[in-house]
Symmetry: C2
Subunit: 377 residues, 2 copies
């Protein structure tokens, strides 16, 4: 029996509620299998950790995460630990990303079910069939370059930040994008996004992406777009970017958020942050090693609805599916979860309004949704 | 009689075609007035200047622009002078912005006529009533900070760019945003966009914007959004950003392009780049001084349709209106042009399909559209 350690970070706001449902799903998957075992253990992280331990990423949590095969997180933050607080939950997230070397952020934007197309802010004719996976470099660029605050000598009236990339950083994220593209049949196209007409880092980005794919994955289709142009496509013609959108940290932050509103509710979307290319080897093979990764829904902690049991758990449940696939090499149960989610969303019989949580205009509660998915599974 | 010098830069591709129509409109405005005179003179700029003079911004063109009260440009660039060329048209544009100190880029995104709402990629319920004016800082930030290319010592495998701002740069663009907000009745709200949870430049940005408005324009409403969050609003709930969106150079590049697709055709939208706060003083007063500015439609040179006479001249004609208002202090003729454009677009009688150029699904030619607007004017 293969055993995996999964750390659970419920976090703040609706985090614990949505994580509870995803945990049930993981337990069902483990119970149904004769050859895998999942050891789940919860730890404090984010605002609740600030309250208990004085900092968002306590030593014990970091240690557990470092030893884990994968991490499932809810959401962190809230008005209690706002922009003016000394210690903020987001600092914990940035530290965790850096400490675990989670350099590859994977954010799919697609319709979990075709029945959701009308929920998009885009016209149905433009939204239907959108299937974009943003692969964002997560621990480089202007997020982690040197910077100087204003108010500090010399030139107290000036602040600066450095956007910086080296060849190795760009190569490894390119390989992750290639692995994700190759996991689909037929392989997905890669769209690399930069601002090469202005930035030196972007010129290096474009060169390394091109050379790495040409040398190692010549079978994949590749094109390049400027970030301003890509931001237009996502609204006007998003299918043009169907496939893998490969980009650096800051552009990825903006473009992944922009594309995430296409499906009509942030509550639906999962994400993964990986410390390596996703596992394609079979978990039963001797040589199999889990790819460490942090999985979380893309929505925030939604303090306004926390504690009411009305949040949509689907983003977290689909994050658990990504966890099984990318970290643990368990593609089949991952696909089974995704299919169950689709079936539940397709189910239009509950009072004629479909099986929908409040974010999608329905009345289904967090728990009901989780149980229904488990049932179908 | 007050006399103004306006330099015309037709540029490449469809540039000369659309500029011709806007020039007609300016001539009509001048002819109709007893107290102003416009001296229009055309100069080479962009790809055509590379072909003739070896560089995109010849000395003579720069000199004429420096002496002008305002500049009207078509569009520049084309496959002939692509990314791999040594000398590129865009370099001329960046140099001209810098040389003239055009630090304030103004990009409205709205529906020139309500009859266009159905052309939006967004659902009508989301698109209608969108009225965003992006005010982008144009000659600072990561565009003009120090940078190092890869392949250059030390650390040949590394490239970097510097995003840099000082207090004065942020103050002056904030004042332009405030003037634009105040020009409307009631004044517009200001939405400042940054990434203050990560960037030192953004923290300075947020501080200076807040302090400048509090001290100098306390009557204006101000809120702050993170750039990732703003990129979501523009798709999911753009009216939330109605008013003035104030931001730095790179974020402004991305967000202004993103919002510009809401109206359904890039051919409709104008832009202004100013070397100061827009003129509000009356041009007849002794103390009046024009605010130097460069005005251009936001669309590109569209080499695929160049020479066919089918491009939409409205973006350029509305740019000419902005030129009259912001540089020359001629608000009335500016409004008259905008009204004429709206009337022509509202006219639904041409074969039942409205008066529309090809970009909006119609059959009206560039010249016809220009003449119709002149006629209504
Ligand atoms: C909280 C913030 C620092 C973070 C980021 O910009 O990376 C967030 O927006 C995200 O995308 O996970
Ligand atoms: C051509 C390019 C350098 C330019 C920019 O990024 O500023 C363009 O995208 C623009 O917005 O005018």
């Amino acid at each position: 029996k293969k055993s995996f350690r999964v750390v659970i970070l419920p976090g703040d706001g609706i985090g614990p509620e949505v994580v509870a449902e995803a945990t049930k799903v993981l337990e069902v998957v483990a119970a149904a299998s004769t050859d895998i075992e999942l050891k789940l253990e919860a730890h404090d992280f984010g605002g609740c950790a600030i309250d208990k331990h004085g900092l968002p990423l306590p030593e014990s949590t970091l240690k557990a995460c470092q030893e884990a095969d994968a991490i499932l997180m809810g959401s962190i933050g809230g008005p209690k630990w706002g922009v003016n607080s000394k210690v903020r939950p987001e600092q914990g997230l940035l530290s965790l990303r850096k400490a675990l070397g989670l350099y590859a952020n994977i954010r799919p934007a697609n319709f979990a079910s075709d029945s959701l197309v009308d929920n998009s802010p885009l016209k149905a004719s433009i939204a239907q069939g959108v299937n974009i996976i943003v692969v964002r470099e997560l621990i480089g660029g202007v997020y982690f370059g040197q910077r100087k605050e204003a108010g500090v000598a010399p030139q107290e009236d000036t602040a600066w930040d450095t956007m910086i990339y080296n060849v190795a950083e760009i190569q490894r994220i390119t390989r992750v994008a290639a692995q994700i593209a190759l996991a689909a049949d037929p392989p997905l196209a890669i769209h690399s996004i930069d601002k090469a007409n202005v930035l030196a880092t972007s010129r290096l980005w474009r060169k390394v992406v091109t050379e790495t794919l040409q040398a190692e994955y010549p079978q994949l289709s590749l094109d390049h777009h400027l970030v301003d142009s890509a931001s237009m496509f996502i609204v006007a013609n998003p299918r043009k970017l169907n496939g893998v959108v490969l980009t650096e940290n800051l552009f990825g932050d903006i473009l992944s958020d922009e594309s995430s509103v296409i499906p009509g509710s942030l509550g639906l979307l999962p994400s993964a942050s990986l410390a390596g290319a996703p596992s394609v080897a079979d978990y039963r093979s001797e040589s199999f090693k889990a790819t460490p990764g942090l999985y979380e829904p893309i929505h925030g902690s939604a303090p306004d609805i926390a504690g009411q049991g009305v949040a949509n758990p689907i983003g977290t449940i689909l994050s658990a599916a990504m966890l099984l696939r990318y970290s643990l090499g368990l593609d089949k149960p991952a696909t089974a979860i995704e299919t169950a989610v689709r079936k539940v969303l397709d189910n239009q019989d509950k009072g004629g309004e479909g099986f929908r949580t409040a974010d999608l205009g329905g009345t289904v509660k967090t728990k009901e949704m989780g149980e229904k998915i488990v049932e179908v599974l």
